[in-house]
Point group: none
Chain length 229, copies 2
């Protein structure tokens, strides 16, 4: 498979030290069993299925490794799930069924607010009036008004203006800098009205072999950033 083009595949967990402590009780009792089909006396010699300590150890190790891997995977899943759950109200991505979802699950798909045409019209009208971000009180009023046309909350209104402004700004950097044409990264000519510009990728200059550039930002916060209270 040559899918190693882009998407970093899920890194298989590094099998850490397989520590098998949960159940140490492996048949250490030495019995020449004959119980099941494990032993057979042939010609006066007792033949049994035998495993040496070494072999047993190998098996135990293997099982332990699997257990560890499973635990890690489970932990990872929890973490990821937790993130998506906590970080986002909406989830409903994948819910895998194999051994967890035995019963029919009902993933509560979070619906997002969608403005009705009427609401949108009103919102647009208000927005076009040129006012910036409506104050909180303004938002309340608007919300009240829009409530007559459909389900809506103040947050919806707030978000709408927030997004509307941000995106209209992104759409047209046409601030018309009359003469001094600064070097700007403007490469988006939006033929449409409100079109988001596919942003290009960011910097990538880790030419250092074997060293990922993982410096995010480590500004010094010694001054007043952290001086709380």
């Amino acid at each position: 498979m040559g899918w190693d083009n882009k998407s970093p595949p899920p890194p298989p967990p590094p099998p850490p030290l397989p520590q098998l402590e949960p159940n140490h009780h492996q048949h250490q009792n030495n019995d020449i069993v004959d119980g099941g089909n494990g032993a057979a006396a042939v010609g006066g010699v007792l033949y049994v299925k035998v495993m040496t300590d070494e072999q047993l150890e190998i098996l135990r190790t293997q099982i332990a490794v699997y257990a560890t891997i499973c635990e890690q995977l489970v932990e990872m899943h929890k973490a990821i799930t937790a993130q998506q759950d906590l970080a986002g109200v909406r989830l409903g991505n994948l819910y895998w069924d194999p051994l967890v979802t035995s019963a029919g699950h009902k993933i509560t798909a979070r619906q997002r607010w969608t403005p009705t045409p009427m609401q949108l019209q009103i919102l647009e009208r208000i927005f076009d009036k040129g006012l910036g971000i409506p104050s909180k009180q303004k938002i309340k009023d608007i919300t009240a008004e829009l409530s007559l046309h459909g389900q809506i909350s103040e947050t919806n209104v707030y978000n709408w203006f927030q997004n509307r402004r941000a995106r209209s700004k992104r759409k047209q950097p046409n601030t018309a800098p009359s003469n001094a044409e600064s070097e700007v990264e403007t490469d988006a000519e939006s033929p449409k009205e409100k079109k988001r510009e596919p942003e290009n990728l960011k910097l990538q200059a880790s030419s250092t072999p074997g060293a990922e550039d993982l410096s995010f930002q480590s500004r010094e916060i010694s001054s007043e950033m952290l001086s709380v209270d």
Copy 2:
């Protein structure tokens, strides 16, 4: 634009699981081994570590089950991360621990820090648990700990707590346990506690306090499977 969509089910590659293939050679030839440390002659009786066919079968089954589980988990993880992996070609989000630095992929650093699931989990725990505002020293400690799970700076931690607090606060007036619940399909969310401010629609409160069931137990499986007895 459309890069942040779900990825179509990619050709299911074989699970990149460590081939911990057990020594399947279950000694079909019956030998009373004594070679290793598995046998000992005591008082004229030969004691060896013995496993019946049944026991062997159990072991093999266990290993097989683990293998299957691991496969499924890996598959699930792929499904989970698929979207996000594809979502950002530029965001080689390391989800957990170290191994992301396997290949010299273009793990370009993002512009803004994004907590890994592990980090988020820890942060969340700290936030929930005790105190409210971590002191400067506390932040240092937390940062140090979180550094083990990914790049992070003290500023990140500080900001996170700041935002976390501010946004959780803006969500409290949701103290209506006596909700009539008139089954509105408009919106259904289970605010565990995070989130910003859904500021839900009037009597719209299916706020099931943390009724998430999206996690499964590994403990159960593990214990069951590891009990060879």
